[in-house]
Symmetry: T
Subunit: 156 residues, 12 copies
Amino acid sequence: MYVVKSPLSDDDLKTVADALQGTLVDLVDLSLVAKQIHWNVVGPRFRSIHLQLDEVVDTARQHTDTVAERASTLGVSPDARAATVAASSGIGDVPEGWVKDVDAVGTLVDALGAVITRMRERVQATDEPDPVTQDLFIQITADLEKHHWMFQAENG
Amino acid sequence: MYVVKSPLSDDDLKTVADALQGTLVDLVDLSLVAKQIHWNVVGPRFRSIHLQLDEVVDTARQHTDTVAERASTLGVSPDARAATVAASSGIGDVPEGWVKDVDAVGTLVDALGAVITRMRERVQATDEPDPVTQDLFIQITADLEKHHWMFQAENG
Amino acid sequence: MYVVKSPLSDDDLKTVADALQGTLVDLVDLSLVAKQIHWNVVGPRFRSIHLQLDEVVDTARQHTDTVAERASTLGVSPDARAATVAASSGIGDVPEGWVKDVDAVGTLVDALGAVITRMRERVQATDEPDPVTQDLFIQITADLEKHHWMFQAENG
Amino acid sequence: MYVVKSPLSDDDLKTVADALQGTLVDLVDLSLVAKQIHWNVVGPRFRSIHLQLDEVVDTARQHTDTVAERASTLGVSPDARAATVAASSGIGDVPEGWVKDVDAVGTLVDALGAVITRMRERVQATDEPDPVTQDLFIQITADLEKHHWMFQAENG
Amino acid sequence: MYVVKSPLSDDDLKTVADALQGTLVDLVDLSLVAKQIHWNVVGPRFRSIHLQLDEVVDTARQHTDTVAERASTLGVSPDARAATVAASSGIGDVPEGWVKDVDAVGTLVDALGAVITRMRERVQATDEPDPVTQDLFIQITADLEKHHWMFQAENG
Amino acid sequence: MYVVKSPLSDDDLKTVADALQGTLVDLVDLSLVAKQIHWNVVGPRFRSIHLQLDEVVDTARQHTDTVAERASTLGVSPDARAATVAASSGIGDVPEGWVKDVDAVGTLVDALGAVITRMRERVQATDEPDPVTQDLFIQITADLEKHHWMFQAENG
Amino acid sequence: MYVVKSPLSDDDLKTVADALQGTLVDLVDLSLVAKQIHWNVVGPRFRSIHLQLDEVVDTARQHTDTVAERASTLGVSPDARAATVAASSGIGDVPEGWVKDVDAVGTLVDALGAVITRMRERVQATDEPDPVTQDLFIQITADLEKHHWMFQAENG
Amino acid sequence: MYVVKSPLSDDDLKTVADALQGTLVDLVDLSLVAKQIHWNVVGPRFRSIHLQLDEVVDTARQHTDTVAERASTLGVSPDARAATVAASSGIGDVPEGWVKDVDAVGTLVDALGAVITRMRERVQATDEPDPVTQDLFIQITADLEKHHWMFQAENG
Amino acid sequence: MYVVKSPLSDDDLKTVADALQGTLVDLVDLSLVAKQIHWNVVGPRFRSIHLQLDEVVDTARQHTDTVAERASTLGVSPDARAATVAASSGIGDVPEGWVKDVDAVGTLVDALGAVITRMRERVQATDEPDPVTQDLFIQITADLEKHHWMFQAENG
Amino acid sequence: MYVVKSPLSDDDLKTVADALQGTLVDLVDLSLVAKQIHWNVVGPRFRSIHLQLDEVVDTARQHTDTVAERASTLGVSPDARAATVAASSGIGDVPEGWVKDVDAVGTLVDALGAVITRMRERVQATDEPDPVTQDLFIQITADLEKHHWMFQAENG
Amino acid sequence: MYVVKSPLSDDDLKTVADALQGTLVDLVDLSLVAKQIHWNVVGPRFRSIHLQLDEVVDTARQHTDTVAERASTLGVSPDARAATVAASSGIGDVPEGWVKDVDAVGTLVDALGAVITRMRERVQATDEPDPVTQDLFIQITADLEKHHWMFQAENG
Amino acid sequence: MYVVKSPLSDDDLKTVADALQGTLVDLVDLSLVAKQIHWNVVGPRFRSIHLQLDEVVDTARQHTDTVAERASTLGVSPDARAATVAASSGIGDVPEGWVKDVDAVGTLVDALGAVITRMRERVQATDEPDPVTQDLFIQITADLEKHHWMFQAENG
């Protein structure tokens, strides 16, 4: 059976593995939510928000890959199947159908805010166990918080 | 309320809308499945399959966007939220955990085969109602069938 | 005298030639109309619409070339001189002077709608006589309908 | 109502506005004429002239945009609709149908010559009222005269 | 033994396989013929035709790959060995030695014309059995007919 | 001591040096003001204006370099230190803190207008003394006036 | 009124906000000082130092943007107006006029040294309150220290 | 009749012409054989060999052009028609149908080995008559031998 | 004599200097070892591993430069001469001669594992003395651990 | 006989033609002189000056082409044969053999100075006869004066 | 005094130096002649020859640099001043004024032929003294002979 | 056991293998030495030499790969492990610690000179046994001699 000799102790590994798996699910869901609104937004700000959402998708997809491969690197099998994402994402439900532009911005502010809160906790949790993973989380948090600012400023 | 005056009759629109929504879900799931195995594959062919799977992801993501925007173009709100994908994808369950390379190839052969069968039916179904959508489906089918060949040849 | 031996019968050629010449004129006019509003639009959405219109111009110019060269390929001399365009375009008159952004969007919705209706008829008409030309028309229609959606969503 | 406070006096503005509008129409027509012959030329020099004409189109389209935006910059609404171009272009009629290569070159020599003559007058006319516009006209004239040389040399 | 489960019935597969194999041979031979003249052409139009022929080679090589991989995709082994090409190409013999430019153009007009005639039949033949392959043939035909026009116009 | 033998007379050099130093300060300040609002703008048009302001920054920075190096070329030491800019810029005070999008546009209209007025005087002043510097000023004016139009149209 | 709900406590926010505002001012001034010397340096090492200074400008400008946007992200309005920079920069006065190359290097060694000292304090200060901002400061410090080395080595 | 005054004596030219014509045929056949296997290979190493073979095709096509143009340069008409290639290639027969990956590698080792042996003789033969052609052959041999190593290592 | 005034205390500098010099040697040796196997690997996975090893070389070379320049930045002369590397590298001996692919993977797993262990200690050691250097070590560790995973998965 | 109908009167044409021919010769010689020193410079500043001289060559070659084509555009045959350049260049003799770096800089200061003086006269001379040519001369002068500054600063 | 310790004996160096200096002059003159005709050619093949000549210029300029730097490398000061080129080039006189296209081709055939004859002698002469220089001459000869073929084919 | 059937006789292979292995070691050491000084150089010419050394590194690394793969191609296992390089390089010892710029140049002149002497012997030795390897050595020698010139000219 395939086993990776991890550089971390078992306890540390458990902590880091949970944080990575949680981040993975949040980011995959963020990419799906952003795409969902990318296609369903309507209103005078359609084009601007339509484009802005694809930048969120790019951020989410890029970090998704890094996070999942970090899990594999530590010998932890990552799980980002649709059912797993649907069951454990930290982002609340998004309604189906067309979305007015102002509501689209609000939805992203909420979704990003939810993920950021969890990321800040993960930055704390991984500080001792694995500074390498923590460094990755810090970069993800920085990017998400920047997107968060931009959507807040949109409705400012 | 936002309504698009569709160039199609109501009956034709119903047919095309179902085909587009089904394709959207299948392609999103295909991208998630391919990424899942991209991260979990192990064995002597790891690197080769790891890279090959990202080409499937690229194909799936690119067509996902075109299909969802085609739905919006016809006035049909696309739905690719995680729960929708988990509930209605045409691809069977993928087991969690590490995957041996030979099994990874088999999983892709099956997943691509399932989607292709449905795409061929959709090509038939949209021939009369909307040749524009049909043309899009034909191109998607061509790309999926090419990936299908390559994974079959891998285990040939 | 220069004569191309066409792969089509005379009747089929007549049908296809009319469809190509009509498409050529519509697309040239679409590029002129989109540029006219690109320069004359004013209002809070100026920048967004100004940029969006250049994407319509790119689409129109690119297909213009393909359509005219397809006519030449079949031995039919294409005609896209200014007077011909002014006399036979399927797009209605565009008023002179500055255009408010909301009206700019409405004008494009109408212009694109008019051309799309004619393109759908041309797709029908060329199905039997020349599938090569039909395939070209299907691609043009797909692109125009996507632009149509985006402008509709802008005013949604 | 939308009004731009122009940096020019009313008289100067009138002079510059006329020169810009005239240039705009000439350049749009030049691009249409060059494309018309690009598609209709036949003869042993077909390929060479076909390619050369697209360089004229590039020049014309690029300066068209600059000229129209210069008009808008000065608060003058530019007008490049097909009917306006057909009615007021400084380029003479171009016959319909196929064009022998030697005649294609002659047509371009004439068309470019006609526009250049008008551009030289506009360079004179705008010297005092607006050196910024004049500078733009000088660059356009330089480019058109270079094309003029090349077509003259072709038939030399 | 390696077998691909084809999405087509046996009869349909036979029809499509023949059309694909025939196209493959024609396109490989077209690339060899175009290169042969690319190197052997002489006369005042040498440079123009020398360059134009490499564009035919590009078209032929690109579609060759797509056609052969489409055959493999359907489970049909493609055959483009030199002897097979020499024995079954639809293009007539090309004389050895230097070729005057006017004859070079004539040779290409004939070669392209021969392949186009066969492609149009293949478009017909694959309409029912496999619209995916038919769509590919339509695109190849469009490209070849465009080259055909250009060489006809050269000698117009 | 370092002295450049200037191609200009002392009087002419004095005139040109003043104009270059003034332009340098105005452009550096324009880049700082545009960045200040780039970071502080809020409101529904946030993203559009945020992006548009960076294009002003690009224009200002690019011409800043050309203007300062033109001064050095004429043997005049350029001065763009923060205190110099703060003391002698032609742009009025910009308030601290967040800026609503409509006010952001107004601030840029004013700032660009103030610099343009001074640039037009500098174009006049350098006509005789140094046509090389004048040519540079004309290009700067053209670029600034185009940005001025776009911000005016935004609030049109 | 526009308010961002910060993920930091009020005390932490105050600490981080001061550090960000101080960094912003230092970096803007560094870019102005480096440009000032870029234009005024003379001597045998002119070209080498002229080019090297533009790399400092690039570093400073790039981090300026990141720092200001980090402030906005935390709900703190950044201030980089000329007067603010002139009043609160950590870099000492730079003399006006031409600068000998050896002095130019000395000036940069001093300027970079001053900013680095302050950056090291800011890295300390933000460790607890906000690791995301700290990470950004660490990267800025690394880049500035590398430039510092290169200018020290120049006069070594 | 078209005659090039060769810089070589008649005897030397004969030697060099034979070597160039032989190389041309070998390289065209190598490109056809590599493509044939590129499409027909199956097995666990499918993807790796599929990609590796296209690099052989690139090498062969690139040198084919150089060799044929070198022949034309010396006044010798090159001949790379399908029948000529089929009749005179130095590469043995390749079986039709699917090829297991290990056999695919073996086929390439043999094909490359056969051409390399002939190339080494041609390097010898052209040493005195034409060092320019010899230099070209040396480069071709170097490239082919490198491919030869890689396929040998594959089965090592 | 050339002395850099370090921002670190003497004790901290000693710790950091040792860590940097050790990392430098390890990374140079890693690049040499990876190249050695890049050239000597044989077996069915030759091509895959040959390519994968060059990615290790790229990582090692890139970080080598950053680490050595970080040492210079702190005023510590880096030493990466061949004899120094041979004497003090943390990677064990690599046998001479050809290497079977499975052994090649094992060698890299060991080499990367040895360096990673030392890097994790260096991350610990530099936490207090110099967070800038620590941050650099964290990034190096992340990259090496990712390569480590991939080679482990290869033999999984 | 080939005659271009010039837009200029005979007297104006004579003035402009002389200025263009003189500029052409000066620029060709400048490119030869700069290359001569590029190859022959020695001394501690070798690399810096070696690179800087190639930028002069680029400037000279680019403007050479524009100037010569401007002459042809006006119907004046340009003459830049080696003997013409040797006989009529405005740049003084350059000694043969190795050149110390400080002398290399001095030679360029002199050569650029000589050409600039003549360019300023040509800018004057063409003001009335042909503003298009004058505009070209102004740009050349600007570029040469910038190079002049840089070489003066080198020896400052 | 600057002296390079040459790896060649004095006799060998003399031979190689003469060959390099002669090549340098021939190539500079070739670039001047090709540009001269590039600007002065007229006739139906104007555009084709105009473009073709710039490819000769590119070849000549590129090898000029390599040859001159090879001389410097061997410690021989290269001389490519206009007077030296005019006095010692191996290319015959080129008449002033406009050149008909057919004569332009003839002039290039002669010029290239003259240089090639001398290059073949230089290849012989340097075989023993310096194979490095010989290798360079062989590459130059190959490139010139290819251009020679193309111009001969043009008039074939 | 892995054996490559070499195209060379045993004696020839022995000669060529020794030359390749020697070159490999020299080039790896040259890259390490150049990097060592790249990081340790100080003085007014720091930046120029720092950059110039990276070009030596690029040359050395690129040829290292070619040489090692040439050895593998001939069936000879290359050895470039640190200990082998330290033991058998042709470059003398380089002192540890900071290096003044003038000494840095001297070190490179010596190092390059030592390798060039050995390369010239290897060019001689491989002339008969393997012209393919000899051609590679000639190119390496040409590149190294050019770097040698540039460093000599630096201290000229």
